[in-house]
């Protein structure tokens, strides 16, 4: 649930009405890259996120976007308050006034009403998070377009704040995407099959393709079948002595996550000497 706080996230105090600016700024209220779309997108997508970090980040950024929606609403409201209809018409807001007076209504800069078609909620965490990254960049670009058209510092100041928030959100979503990909790419094998080394190089090359995400930033070393089980990329399959192969051994999750120390080793009986090279 949510609880309202009787303040804005960032102050909006516009001294001079200016309907021309309101006509453009309103796109961040009800436009394709606006705050309403952002908020609905993240708050809808969070339900199908697989891990805690992703649920929390979508929830909290989605919540912050609602505060941004309120800031944009306040800007539009203050820019148009008490402006005579004739002036609104002259500044291009005649059609808007006909339908909505000076009320705040979610439309884009060209007057098209908000639609849920602006957002997606796919049930696939990679698809959703990549959309979110794009959304933050599109919103940032829109704020830059708006700032370039504005001539009132009272309007530019909150728009700059909102632009900066898009940059921070992009960073956080990037971190979430990386963490989700790492999680999905994990192969939580705790017991090796006795024949697990008998993987042909061709099958090894299938590694990244059969993975959950095609865009994973897995390094070539990590593609080998061995490192799918443990991150020891400095043990080549050929160097592992056949003697070690019949015995299943246990790899704890903690061990499997550690980076390649010389001896955290699922290949029992393999010494650095036996591997022949580093």
């Amino acid at each position: 649930m949510w609880v309202y706080e009787k303040k804005l996230e960032y102050p909006v105090k516009i001294k001079n009405c200016n309907p021309r600016l309101a006509k453009y700024v309103i796109t961040q209220y009800g436009g394709p890259d606006g705050e309403l779309a952002a908020s609905l997108r993240y708050l809808s997508q969070r339900f199908s996120m697989p891990i805690e970090v992703a649920k929390a980040t979508l929830n909290d950024i989605g919540t912050e976007e609602m505060a941004h929606l309120e800031i944009i609403g306040a800007i539009v409201h203050q820019l148009t308050k008490d402006v005579p209809p004739k002036v609104l018409e002259k500044e291009g807001l005649g059609s808007y006034f006909a339908d909505h007076d000076r009320a705040v209504y979610p439309v884009n800069a060209a007057g098209s009403p908000f639609t849920a078609a602006y957002i997606q909620s796919k049930g696939d965490p990679i698809a959703d998070l990549v959309e979110d990254l794009a959304a933050e960049q599109k919103a940032r670009a829109t704020y830059e377009n708006l700032i370039n058209m504005m001539d009132d510092p009272d309007v530019i100041d909150p728009l700059r704040f909102l632009r900066e928030r898009e940059v921070v959100h992009f960073q956080r979503f990037g971190e979430v995407l990386r963490i989700v990909q790492e999680k999905l790419n994990e192969k939580p094998y705790f017991v090796k099959k006795p024949d697990f080394m008998n993987v042909s190089p061709a099958a090894a090359n299938m590694g990244p393709l059969t993975g959950v995400s095609p865009v994973s930033n897995v390094s070539p070393a990590a593609i080998s079948p061995i490192s799918n089980v443990s991150p020891i990329s400095n043990v080549s399959p050929a160097a592992v002595s056949p003697a070690s192969m019949g015995k299943p051994s246990f790899v704890s999750p903690a061990e499997a996550e550690k980076p390649a120390a010389p001896f955290m080793n699922p290949f029992s009986g393999v010494s650095p000497a036996a591997t022949g090279k580093k």
Binding site: V3, K7, L8, D60, E64
Partner: protein
Amino acid sequence: MNEARDRMLKEVMALDFMAIELNLYLDTHPYDQRAVMVFVDTARRAKMARENFERMYGPLMASSSNSFPWPWIENPWPWDVQ
């Protein structure tokens, strides 16, 4: 417009914003112990600033309304031109 009120409200807003930013950071860095400490300290300062403001100028949240008649409805609302 009341300048003293403005100043106090801005202090609350600034501290609350710090808390929001640290919250988002901690969502993806839950093991950053120093950031957790900074968050706890910020949240404490934000709470104090909020209570100072509310004593002078009325509730920022409906739940902190504690006088008669019901003070929550009073202007200014955040979007009002002041």
